[in-house]
């Protein structure tokens, strides 16, 4: 009599116990709870009832082991503290949860060896990976692909036939900003970029300089050491030392703009400060703060997250899909 009602110490309810309670086989329980295969309505009901009565929860470790794929999704993120990134992280993790995936958070720093990251991902048989990290993620996604793990890149230049990408519409955003500077009748606009820019930063700098040239507006590029508040503040000092003060400043992201604004306000009289039109990109929460009132380009991190998870899901269902690129719409927020 192979009746094995091992009363677990951990009070962990197993599919077998549910099966026993419902008077069906363990297989029927599995079929019911994973919505696969044939189950009669009657059996189904009995299972569902027994399951909820016993407080049964599918063990995802076991399921993952069996299917060779867990529903964990690696979330490779750098610079978590950075207003734009933390927004993104929030929306991404929520989008994953809504789609029955679970975010396995992997913070990366410049220093950390990327092979460790790959290791972690593989050890958990993640069913996908979303990368927003700035560090060249090539090594990471190549390895993922070797292991048949779907990858989605967010705001990255890298192209690969088997990875999907989500990009915000930098071209449209820059066009809107260029038009803004044109309407404001600016003559000379400083472009605040960074020494080692991320894809977005570089792309925006290039597009902007080009468009301004088309409009016959002069630009001069200032490269801050880092793309954050301090970087913006330092760029401001450089801007102030220019032979003639520009009447416009385009910061390749909002974070830079905040530092720039504060530094300029600190060093210039209110009237001279007001003569400089400043814009950013991203529309982080701070851009709307009273002290900044920054004109910028909004890219919805929610849409971004939704698109990323959607692409991931599609590729999980069909791993042989061609790599797609989804462009997220942007709007001008004039303040």
């Amino acid at each position: 009599m192979p009746k094995k009602v091992t009363a677990q110490v951990t009070a962990q309810v197993t599919a077998q116990e549910v099966a026993d309670a419902a008077g069906v086989s363990r297989a029927a329980v599995s079929r019911t709870l994973s919505n696969s295969g044939y189950v009669s309505a009657q059996a189904r009901n009995k299972v569902l009832q027994a399951a909820s009565a016993l407080g049964y929860r599918v063990n995802h470790l076991a399921r993952g082991l069996n299917k060779l794929r867990s529903d964990l999704v690696g979330l490779v993120v750098a610079d978590i503290d950075n207003p734009f990134r933390s927004q993104q992280l929030k929306d991404l993790s929520e989008a994953l949860l809504e789609n029955q995936y679970r975010p396995l958070l992997i913070p990366t720093t410049q220093g950390r060896d990327s092979s460790q990251v790959i290791d972690m991902l593989m050890r958990y048989s993640v069913s996908g990976v979303i990368i927003t990290s700035d560090t060249p993620p090539a090594e990471i996604y190549r390895n993922c692909i070797r292991h048949q793990v779907p990858v989605v890149l967010i705001n990255k230049a890298d192209q690969h036939p088997k990875v999907d990408r989500v990009l915000c519409d930098n071209a449209k955003g820059i066009a809107l900003l260029a038009d803004f500077f044109r309407q404001a009748q600016c003559r000379q606009v400083a472009v605040i970029a960074t020494k080692e820019g991320s894809y977005s930063i570089q792309c925006r700098e290039r597009l902007f300089v080009q468009q301004m040239a088309d409009l016959g507006i002069r630009t001069s590029v200032i490269r801050a050491p880092k793309h954050d508040y301090q970087g913006g503040a330092m760029a401001a000092l450089e801007l102030l030392s220019m032979p003639s003060l520009p009447d416009g400043a385009f910061c390749t992201n909002d974070y830079l703009a905040l530092g720039l604004i504060d530094q300029l306000k600190d060093k210039l009289s209110p009237s001279r400060f007001r003569k400089i039109r400043i814009t950013g990109f991203d529309d982080i929460p701070q851009a709307s703060w009273l002290n900044y009132q920054l004109t910028t380009i909004r890219q919805s991190t929610r849409d971004l997250a939704a698109a990323a998870v959607d692409l991931l899901k599609r590729r999980i269902d069909d791993p042989d899909l061609e790599g797609q690129t989804e462009i997220i719409d942007v709007q001008l927020v004039a303040r």
Copy 2:
């Protein structure tokens, strides 16, 4: 001939393959790689060599299934976008990684049913849970304890004989601030708290009011609708409508202070603004920005994270430990 060298499709290397290559049993491989049980130096070396040659990685799903405990740790966080929280999240996830745990990120919102959270945690046999969420986490941690899952609470009031807590030293911080206002010879200090405060907010409000009373300084409490920038801005309006303008304002956290400052600067002349001493609590990055230069109390999120993970580790090793409370030191940052 039970030779089973199933060349995996996914190129997933198994312990069996390593064992075969090393000419030992699967058990020996396991013992070597988990540092448990007896293995001769010779066998050990052969295993290690074969493992690295084949690129073997322990399957943590299988390990977790077997041990009834994964090395995943639930990170229950609310309000990810919020400068202080995202710092905390960053440091926590890094601390977990350093200790060979993996953060399973679980964002919570006021609305979300906490039973879903518990579900997720249980389904993955997490070996612990760290909660920083503001929503009353009682239901979550009670369930965790029922399932023998160690819990660490960060900056939460809740007491329970089996959960550990990490708290920042609010009492010391408030004492430092009280002294600051005394030295500045303030007569009337506004206290900016919130309607439904988190533990920290409430605790700070109470302590501060009490200490100021001891020093004979008048206080009046203003409750903002939310503890964020907007909340601070709204509190400022209320402050401005007071019969006599206070000469000090203590914000129960920095985030509120930023909104307060901006709103006051906007509505008051520079000279009148300067007459009000403003302080915050937490020392978020923005506190040091040029526009704010906020005097505040620094609590190190790194220390906090380190303490939390340490407590967790200890309790995982010995689940029957009494609940401990670790207090994190704070300093005054005068700006």
